[in-house]
Homo-oligomer: 260 residues x 2
């Protein structure tokens, strides 16, 4: 019952921040969590879990895990603890990993993706998955961005949050870091230099993407030494932020990973 | 009341197909619809609409439109007709435009994006928005793909469905079209030739993207003369299909739109 109360409480960002815990829901997310170095605090299941063969395998794996606090609750209690629509009868409570800017490796090429008030959890999850896939060094969430440990972000990141260096920061801490490590700062916006006109990019680059509706904030514009854009049809107002981030991360990948 | 019954009925794909009508929900989608050549059948509103200034402006515009069947209903009736979570007090019923493969212009470069059982409506909407933005000639939905006129697809396409040539087709009709117009067929998959190793792409190209979980179908693999992939970190299983489609459409854009 303690685990159930805890899971319900962790739906609130404040509770997640105070306790440094988060919830991962669904078979796939819990599988990814088990394969990661992240510390598990407990797992809640419902009778729905073993109804799929993949779920049954996961349940077996959980039961064999020594010292794991594993609790089956009824469907309605489970639903009250889950935040996403189809949690598939399993949710895990785990410790938010202790991450800071200082952990970002600074030898060689660096690609930081900076989220400036990106608000949709599905977009942020997809961005984390994409940043991990394209080898970004880290993803940094600035104030105004949805909590990285929100259950919907965790789910749509498809495990990327557990191994990719994703963390929150203030502008002040980020400014100090970027300046100490000599990292160039670019912003992504519809009105900028089109990326196909850019021959080279800095070896260490932080790319800022902005809010879904408002775009880059004044704070971001003040820091960016270049605004880059993707050429799009005038019939379309903008790209989805996760798609734009994906294309730009790919286009601006460090020179050594391009074909010679 | 007839409009209310109709909107409720159109939540079902079969009803949309039988009546050749669809529903666009939310301020932005209805604004985009008004600016498009698509024929409006009627608009339902609730008292929520004028609560935002953009909503109030839209309501005024709707009231000034001659001959428009405009009906305000109470909040609970409105909610019963809406399919998405936050329809903002406005939904429009409109005619599905009459589109066929024959309408695809075949002079010059051609880029077709082919959806092979892509199932998530948010992904399909984002793909349509991206295809329109990157100047794809058309997007073709094969059987197994979510209905293009599903309310969530319409919403996440952000208006792209109303001007981009998006249509459904069978494999048989598509085969005949591709062969008659001499269009090359490539498939996107994690295991393929990485796109940065590809120097040139056919002037007329159909790119097939597959299901979120299963990837390309056997039918797609049988037709593709080349499988292209994006190089991703081994820590990540796959990219989101909308992100992958976006990067590939950008990377494989016709030569004449590249910088010389």
């Amino acid at each position: 019952v303690k685990l159930l109360t805890l899971a319900r409480d962790l739906k609130r960002r404040k509770a997640r921040e105070r306790q440094s815990l988060f919830v991962a829901e669904g078979v796939r997310a819990v599988e990814e969590l088990l394969d990661s170095p992240i510390e598990l605090r407990g797992v809640l299941t419902s009778s729905e879990l073993p109804s799929s063969s993949r779920g049954a395998m996961l349940l077996e794996q959980l039961q064999q895990r020594r010292g794991l606090d594993l609790l089956e609750v009824n469907e309605s209690d489970f639903a009250s603890a889950a935040d996403t629509d189809a949690p598939q009868g399993v949710l895990a409570i785990a410790a938010v990993p202790d991450r800071s800017l200082e952990q970002i490796p600074s030898d060689g090429a660096m690609r930081l993706l900076v989220l400036d008030a990106v608000q949709d959890p599905g977009n942020v999850g997809t961005i984390l998955r994409t940043a991990a896939a394209f080898g970004a060094t880290a993803t940094i969430a600035l104030p105004g961005t949805v909590d990285l440990w929100n259950a919907k972000v965790v789910r749509s990141a498809m495990g990327a949050l557990f191994h990719h260096l994703a963390l929150s920061s203030t502008w002040e801490a980020l400014d100090a870091f970027l300046s100490a490590r000599d990292v160039g700062v670019w912003g992504a916006d519809a009105a900028g230099a089109t990326v196909d006109s850019i021959a080279t990019s800095p070896e260490r680059l932080a790319l800022i993407v902005g809010n879904e509706g408002a775009g880059l904030s004044a704070a971001a514009r003040a820091r960016a030494t270049k605004i880059v854009s993707l050429p799009i049809s005038p019939a379309v107002e903008s790209l989805n932020v996760a798609v734009a981030a994906g294309v730009l991360l790919y286009e601006l990948r460090p020179a050594r990973s391009r074909p010679s």
